[in-house]
Assembly symmetry: D2
Homo-oligomer: 227 residues x 4
């Protein structure tokens, strides 16, 4: 497993994090990450996945996999495909790519069988408990109404983070809790860690930042402060 | 909560359990049920729901609800609609009507808010654990490959039933476990109860039976035997 | 086929058009309709369908059907179910219940096989053309951004109505064009008819009106004016 | 537009057409294609798209795009992403990746805006007509029950191919008809061309062939024979 605490940066399908810009952004993040002793994982779009993985030392996650084995599944993403492309793990069930429950379970199992980590996104404390029972590597709790906004979940709804940490401890203590939605500054990270999270997941806060290097440095300092 | 043990009979959207035939089948089931001291719930199709509920004393469940409040959701089924029609509860996430995880959670909460029971279907032990964390009234474990077949889950995969009972006890002991898929005869019921289930869920075993009365009687005798 | 021009009123899953309120609203609409020589069809929610159909002389449509035959399709709505309940037709592919293309085609065919009319909803002129090729009874063009709003499609985007009428004439002239979204007053109906529509589809304009009788009368007068 | 006749080879998400094997297979197809004066397009999986496009002179299509613009759509595939990766076009609505009608229309428009070709898959003659009305570059007719089988649509259901050619001619004559499902040998291609198709779409016939080079050569000879 990747060492925690962890900062995971998704490029979504933003034009600011696509193609050549994905490579440039990755270089910036990588450069900052080298000044710290924390894990930084990046999550480029699925078409850029291989190119980005081949050009960075940072661990790379996919944004999604389908629950299928290799075969007749035109247009789908298998665990085999992302592993072959260099990913060490995958997001599953992001709020922008919700999956039916049986498929979340199957996708986690397929990823595990190939030695891939799984970061399953959830929208509230109860769903976090449900996902914990499925045994992913991480649960990333992100209240949908806060995603892409300016207020971090750890500030706006601290009880969602602490509640998630508690329910996971009770149901499956091996699972790590990340928190996302609105993470943009140092204090968001410190607060998340205080509430018991093992890291943060963010996207626009870095990818759409005027100065991604500065933001990245600030977030990593937030991790330093929390130790 | 309905008293357990419980036998729940879904009419799916079989022609043998639709319209007038739904009423006739309900009368047969009701007649047999009166000879026993067990709970029998019926689950007619959504269009027949009100008519069947108005013509029986048996508790009636809906086959599905959507996670929406009343409003602009053309073609959807709200908890309010099924309650108004006389249902005391609803199935959620049947293998033929899978839902995304966040919607399962929302549908359970909407049903609970209206005092409706929830019977959430699952396909394996891990998913049963996940659903238990969401706190429905019942989890109905039905391995999809056995649904509609001739071998009961309690015979073909007893470990799925006992494993479900165990995981639910650990995660949320207030939840009752039903088992479905392939239930057709007395022994299927007895076996299910031995494995720790609180009842069974079946469909074709009754609805497509040559003599539904005989089968219903046999299943209820199976419950008697297990006490 | 129902005689056009046609005014179709959907109750969506509004609480104002559910259960007892559905019956009361239907009586009001029926009463007004008797004063005019036009067709008024009503579209109650799926659970109320049979009760409403049994208590009115107005033609009743379902809000949705799935493309399946009777069988193992728990929670689905078949053409057989709605016909048995008294519907003379069904909406298909409402913007709040979008379907995959192959299922729209299959649902139209299943409905036709049972002698049911089909009213397929579309979101723009091109999609209207596509649906016309599938041969439903009606295409109901409703730009999603106008649904539930205060400005009618015939006022806000007259070219969408006239364009739909043209493309249908070219591809399949037997199909009738209805227009929906924002229809609330007499002028909306007159305008729609001037643009070549065979009627209108509305929901909140009646169901959420303070005085549904008055609105209904006004819309029917709009039809009178257009002749 | 690519010159027709056209042979399009999808690698689906077969392990035989993934990663290094995708490159090797592409080299084989490219080598054979150089001996003929026909267009051969390849359709690798989405994660391999860029790598394959960078290593071949053959035109490359994506297997799927979503209807979204760049933005907050984690795990989705935009037209921008596949264009940046080197694709000249994309499949849309493959039977293994069905889309709702409004999204098919939106995806075609997004692809066109970026100068990408579109190959929309259909399951019968009526749906082919519907898709033709949306104006894609190609319609690929593939009866689902024949996909992956041993009998070609042009042999098993010639009327589906000729019917598709006719309906497209009537509704939108600029659209080219490809036919797929079960295409494996020379005669399948010749027959398809006789029926009025502008080419064929295949997958397992090449990707899972013992000798893909031989099959590819045979199919191209089939095109030669048909001219």
């Amino acid at each position: 497993m990747l060492r925690t605490p962890l900062i995971a940066v998704s490029y979504k399908v933003y034009s600011e994090g696509m193609g050549e810009k994905a490579l440039r952004l990755t270089k910036i993040i990588e450069k900052v990450a080298k000044d710290f002793d924390h894990t930084v994982a990046i999550i480029p779009n699925l078409v850029d996945l291989r190119m980005v993985a081949e050009n960075t030392e940072l661990p790379v996650f996919a944004q999604h996999i389908d629950p299928y084995s290799p075969g007749s599944h035109t247009g789908s993403i298998t665990a085999e495909m992302i592993k072959d492309a260099g990913a060490v793990g995958t997001m599953i069930n992001h709020s922008e790519k919700r999956m039916i429950l049986a498929d979340i379970d199957a996708a986690i199992k397929r990823a595990k069988d190939l030695g891939l980590e799984t970061m399953v996104c959830t929208n509230n404390v109860d769903v976090t408990g449900a996902v914990a029972a499925l045994g992913p590597t991480y649960v990333a709790i992100e209240p949908p109404e806060l995603i892409g906004g300016d207020i971090s979940v750890s500030t706006a709804k601290p009880e969602v983070v602490s509640g998630s940490v508690e329910v996971v401890k009770r149901i499956n203590p091996e699972v790590k809790v990340l928190c996302g939605a609105g993470v943009k500054k140092k204090e968001d990270v410190t607060k998340a860690m205080e509430l018991g999270a093992s890291g943060v997941l963010l996207a626009s806060g870095i990818v759409k930042a005027k100065d991604p290097e500065k933001v990245m440095r600030s977030l990593l300092e937030g991790l330093d402060d929390s130790l």
